[in-house]
Subunit: 304 residues, 2 copies
Amino acid sequence: MSLLVVGSVAYDGIETPRGKVDRVLGGAGSYIALAASHFTNVRLVAVVGEDFAPEDEAVLRRRNVDLEGLERAPGKSFYWKGVYSRQMNRRRTLVTELNVFADFRPRLPRSYRDTPLILLGNIHPELQDVVLDQAPDRQYVAGDTMNYWIERTPGELASTIRRWDAILVNDEEARQISKQDNLRAAARDIRSMGPNTVVIKRGEHGATLFHDGQCFISPAYPLEDLIDPTGAGDAFAGGFMGHLASLGLGNASEAGIKELRLAMIYGSVMGSFCCERFGVEALKDLTKDRIEDRFSEFRQLTAY
Amino acid sequence: MSLLVVGSVAYDGIETPRGKVDRVLGGAGSYIALAASHFTNVRLVAVVGEDFAPEDEAVLRRRNVDLEGLERAPGKSFYWKGVYSRQMNRRRTLVTELNVFADFRPRLPRSYRDTPLILLGNIHPELQDVVLDQAPDRQYVAGDTMNYWIERTPGELASTIRRWDAILVNDEEARQISKQDNLRAAARDIRSMGPNTVVIKRGEHGATLFHDGQCFISPAYPLEDLIDPTGAGDAFAGGFMGHLASLGLGNASEAGIKELRLAMIYGSVMGSFCCERFGVEALKDLTKDRIEDRFSEFRQLTAY
């Protein structure tokens, strides 16, 4: 079953205590699409500029990501540059150049319109809504957002969240949306806004799922060698939705707690791989075997 | 099988966003002893001043804590006062009056000397060593420490850690002891200092166990109503060692990964209860049924 992914495809400059890269393929759309591509067919909707290199396009193509929805616009691609703290649990943005992303207006190719599963990366909530309007056959929608939209466009955000089955945000975003300090209370309030499933991504501390009255906690993989945490949350989302798509999920109500628990672990698996190399490097040449091996390692982390 | 607990018995002043109390029973020794008392017989070694109230002594007695080792000294009991941040993941110490604790020199009553399990609360590492010297029949020793001793008495700390089977510290302390940012690397280095088992307490994010080549992650219970996190790490230690003591652990090598995983969960259970009321209140009147119910809830949090 196909997964439609909307999000930025960008060039990143990244500095961590383990090294430095510049102008490498990045953006939430790239991380999500590459992670999900190990589970299902991915259809990408995004925009890049004239500087977008054939070798970067090839990275996505080699993972069979459908690029019919990858628009090319005059100008330069979105560029972001950031530097991480010593423990890599904080980062500072040095440069954000929206470039062609500033005027991005997602348009779904005709061939995408029947996609049943949709993952809305962190873009303007109005644009997230525009995507849903163009996908009448959608059966399950998950979305991400960030402090910028929570503060500046709360009305538009509330409108689109109402149409989501699942929301995947980090702990600070969950607190900001709900105005609740306690995560359990935050999840309850967010669920009353629409999504039946709330996933709170907690970085190096794992992720927590709230669904109906239930709660599930996925640990973070204890990496011996953390290289670059950029995109780990997006890789998580890609693994999470990729797993649901791989089930051939018939409709939203089928995503019960059992499947969601597994999706949480596959998300965590993909997030952990993501951190082991710079940028999207680690997501490019994974194999199903390595994914399943790490899945088994996760079982050992919490089994008793 | 009895558990010997050494640590402070104090009066605390605590302010959290949920309220304020003053001069309530506290100190690591009290939290550990009360938590462990639900699993095993506890023998406490500590010092209090002339101000120590009969009703506070009665709290420990009602839990069958052996107080033969509770010394009374001229002067006032250790007093600590602190205030928590809005999310209660940070706290600021307002007052520390060591009082009778300043000259504390632990002396084990003759009846304590055959205790097989020992939990060394966070006191001067030299005093932790003095306790071990007086317990020739010890079979399993766990200990805690803090930044103050790691910075000021690294030599004494290394000497006593060498004699421990398990160390229970928080993530910052683990990084400080090992000078490693990565927790897996930190645990490996600490294990090379002596303890075969390293438990890293991560507060609202759970706890991680490193033992031989294995790693186990216990989630934190998603509390709907966090009242006061004071002593949660000590309650964890009490539940952890209390469970090992309840097994009638014959010798250190018997504490294999299977028992340690369960000990981690019982520790987390006791830490979670601790946070639901101010001070030691929640640890006073627990029942075995409530402990086992929450243990079952923990299973649901990570099962898939």
